[in-house]
Symmetry: C2
Subunit: 583 residues, 2 copies
């Protein structure tokens, strides 16, 4: 055992193990991280609530109980959950058709959506269904997120001009243009520049003026709060709200009261697919964040506990009047960098946010919406990930296409249709691949005991012996293709008397495949060609045992290609080895 | 070359090659078969038209042009196309919800359905899309046909009692019972017994009284026409029609006039899925019949020409006012046994049916419907195939279940839903299988050069070397499972310093899999374990080349497991072989 292992919190090893084994040494890190994260996530949480079409305080509500819910069940020590851009967009896109944005009904639906996806996630965790997330391939996730980011950027552009929606034409934009619009645009651009500077150069500059590297990093991460403060001050000082500046407006003071209303069955039913999609995306995103955090600390993540943790977080969000939450990448990284050791950091952050809500909420009334818009724009633009499109395309055309079509589907058909299209495409690509198997004619690499494709290597073959390696499980979608490949090889090698099928890459033969093989064998018998198998795997052999095909139509099953070659070539030829004939 | 090859018609070798190379010796066989088949298919064609909810003459129309259409394009020398039970049922089931059975609109829809599926089949043939049929696995086809046969049997039972539909209860049946019902039931049972006798024992009895075996067989095949003749005579002599006996009724005398009407876009659109399903089923059925006929004559079948032939046949059916056609098993077998050598036999049969329609049509007016019902019952009952359910279940639970659920789906949800359910289930089963890969720890079989699963065989392993064979392509649905299996093996063998992944069964690695492998490699590097590959296939190597993973994270790629074992064990241990240490 690594002696240092005990100095680290035991990620993934039993619920609340970190509480039982809590060490005093961790406390300062957890407290610092809690403070830093809470300050950082206040503008983010409000911005994402706005993105989801909800009152900004809903974002703050969703940043309290969920953190505590996750701390109870989750297995990551440093992941921070809360409102994130993609699930906020999904909330807006999925609920938009069901109720008017801004209405009480819409808010109610958002709360139910969080509760329902929380319940689904928790249920999947209890049933250990974490593997379901595997059906989202990386190109689908990547295409989905890029497409969602494009939608988010488009949705925020009107706020930059102080408008509530995109004007129909440039003419309409100019016709309605007021001096206030110019002011808002100016404020927005200054905010954008500050945020971009904070993200790229600020930490380095702070280090150059003498700050310690970790502190410089943390300060740079907290820079967005300055935009919030300046935005509030500017609006308040110049009374811009009275001149028509769009601002957040009055928040209900104080903490959220726990709400519980019962939706009808019809509503629940129509929320089911949206809740499932949000759950799936949240889970995949959270687990990948949790894993990348855990890896560099050599902790481990338990996917089923992540389901429980996320489920509890979303149920907590719904119960306290918040909307769907998920593990967030930037907030988790900040949490980690600020020294968080255990989920206690999250609990601290939750308490601070609760305190701020209880005391400072009235201040946020003067916060201009354009500030939240630039916070969103800067957070979301990096999610538009062209490099992964390039990489996927270069690695495999079909995967690049899946990524691109998923992104386009999200942008032009909506998040629901886009993600379903992506899943369908990746399944179809997989099936398509399986239906076109690679079948190679093998020969022996001279003076060795191994065998390679005659088309790729200079190898020796035996005229009477045709050795075919089938590079795919034989199942209904490829039985015809496998049969054709075998028949083609037989007509390319017309002297064949012994056909050897090498099944090292065949992991399963289904009944359609078995029927094909036994019809093939009948044809071989008529042409007086014997059929042999080599390198049949254990599980395949188990299944073939007791079939008529293996008992009556297969001549011999060899443990290795080498043994098959040596045995079969000595049967048909006077000498076992061509080299020995002419020494 | 087989010198006898020139004596046989050249199945599958160029359109109408049989016409250019026609030999006089084939003529008598083709003529005899044409006569026998035409007599045999008259009752069948009328019966299947009734099953499809269409006037009986539509079945006869569908037995003329289609035979000529198929002869022009098809590649089978002896397959006979025409109305068959399963497509007749599909026509009724798919069109039933769209128009009232018996109405002119229903007939029109049936004609368009034949035209549309003919056009689809022809198009698929031109685009060489024959492989699409591969998505119907054998369990799905088998389940579908059994389910359809159950539906067909149920649909014919009322005719046995002279009713138009099943009475709601036994009481209702008894309350409406007339002497005529008893007579019809008696006629039906006598007909059933005769048909069963003709199918089972008659040929043998005819041989015993001195007839030649082939003639006895043919006479037995023609026996159903006797039921038709007797049925007509009985009805005519006792004037049963006037007493309420359900009969075929007046047929329009003479040949069908070619009809051509244009359906609206909406109608075409709603016929598209039904046409696609009928095309798929017709194609799969016909190709399997054509192949089994061709095999025993050592001819070959070209799947794309079958698509063209079936397409032309269905277009011909539609143009002449008939309904969807398909290769029929029993009529093809009779054609073959009666000596057919080329599609000329089909052309002869078409001409004879046209002649009969032009002259004898009025006679069929007195044919009792119960006769057609027993023809259907005897033809269809053998399609309920419990033995293939038993076989599929024994071979693989998932496939048995797919077959059963497809059949139940057809029976309780309808043909359309049933077949789609079946396809979805077989795809899901395939994906499920791929998502749970078999991963084996390999060791060397003592005193040999080959390697086997440590759990199945007594093998030697090296303490520092963990050799894992991954028995599945690595793709998004199984990356987590593969990763878990590798991690589990690593914790079972904690002394591992060299991890060897044997990729002989990995036919593809998708980008999700590649991401998993490079994350895995990072973890290995941190634990100071080196990663090696062995037996990487050519196509996989092509794709991995130029990836960061292969260049930077994989230590070495070995051509064979043996070389990897020998190289890696000599690195870590003083002696390469445990046996050599203690001789």
């Amino acid at each position: 055992m690594d002696p240092k292992a005990h100095l680290q919190p035991p990620g993934g090893s039993g619920y609340l193990a970190w509480v039982r084994h809590y060490r005093r040494a961790w406390l300062s890190g957890d407290l610092t991280a809690g403070v830093v994260v809470s300050v950082m996530i206040i503008p983010q949480s409000m911005a994402y609530a706005m993105l989801a079409g909800l009152p900004v305080q809903v974002g703050l509500y969703a940043s309290i109980l969920p953190l505590i819910g996750y701390a109870l069940f989750g297995s990551s020590m440093t992941m921070s959950v809360g409102p994130v851009a993609v699930t906020a967009l999904m909330t807006a896109a999925l609920l938009g058709p069901m109720a008017a944005i801004g209405s009480g009904e819409y808010l109610q639906l958002a709360i139910w959506l969080a509760l329902l996806s929380g319940a689904l996630l928790f249920l999947f965790g209890l049933l250990r269904l974490g593997f379901l997330a595997n059906f989202l391939s990386h190109p689908v996730i990547s295409g989905f997120i890029s497409g969602a980011a494009v939608l988010i950027v488009l949705s925020q552009i009107p706020h930059l001009f102080g408008l509530s929606e995109l004007p129909a034409s440039p003419d309409a934009l100019l016709a309605g243009w007021q001096p206030l619009n110019s002011l808002i645009l100016f404020l927005g651009l200054v905010g954008l520049l500050w945020l971009l500077y904070a993200r790229s150069l600020m930490a380095r500059h702070l280090e150059q003026i003498g700050l310690a590297a970790p502190l410089a990093k943390i300060l740079a991460r907290l820079a967005p709060i300055l935009v919030v403060v300046v935005g509030i001050l500017v609006t308040d000082v110049w009374q811009l709200h009275d001149r028509g500046m769009p601002v957040v407006g009055e928040l209900p003071a104080g903490l959220p009261s726990l709400v519980w209303t019962t939706p009808g069955w019809n509503t629940l039913y129509s929320l089911l697919l949206p809740a499932l999609l949000i759950s799936l995306v949240s889970f995949v995103e959270s687990v990948s964040i949790a894993q990348s955090l855990a890896r560099h600390k050599r902790q481990s993540i338990d996917a089923n506990r992540e389901l429980l943790g996320l489920g509890a977080a979303n149920v907590g969000a719904g119960l306290s009047g918040g909307f769907a939450v998920c593990g967030g990448f930037s907030r988790s990284v900040v949490n980690d960098e600020a020294g968080a050791q255990t989920p206690l950091a999250g609990v601290v952050a939750a308490l601070i946010i609760a305190l701020i809500l209880a005391t400072l909420a009235p201040l946020f009334a003067q916060l201009p919406l354009v500030v939240l818009a630039v916070v969103i724009l800067v957070a979301v633009t990096p999610l538009i990930d062209l490099s992964s499109l390039r990489r996927a395309w270069r690695y495999d055309r079909a995967e690049g296409l899946t990524l691109l079509l998923t992104a386009l589907g999200v942008i032009f058909m909506g998040v629901e249709a886009g993600i379903i299209l992506g899943i369908a495409l990746s399944l179809a690509a997989q099936l398509w691949r399986g239906s076109r198997p690679h079948v190679a004619v093998l020969g022996r690499v001279p003076e060795t005991d191994y065998f390679r494709n005659t088309k790729r290597h200079l190898v020796e073959t035996e005229p009477h012996l045709l050795a075919l390696r089938i590079d795919e499980s034989i199942f209904f979608a490829n039985t015809k293709a496998v049969e054709h490949a075998i028949q083609r090889a037989l007509s390319d090698y017309p002297d064949t008397r012994e056909l050897l099928l090498i099944l090292s890459a065949v992991n399963h033969i289904d009944s359609t495949g078995l029927d094909m093989l036994s019809e093939l064998s009948e044809g071989l018998a008529e042409r007086d060609i014997r059929l042999h198998l080599a390198e049949v795997k254990g599980p395949v052999m188990d299944q073939l045992e007791n079939t008529d095909w293996l008992e009556h139509q297969v001549d011999e099953v060899f443990p290795s290609t080498l043994i098959a070659f040596n045995t079969l070539s000595s049967i048909n030829r006077p000498s076992a080895n061509p080299e020995e004939v002419n020494p």
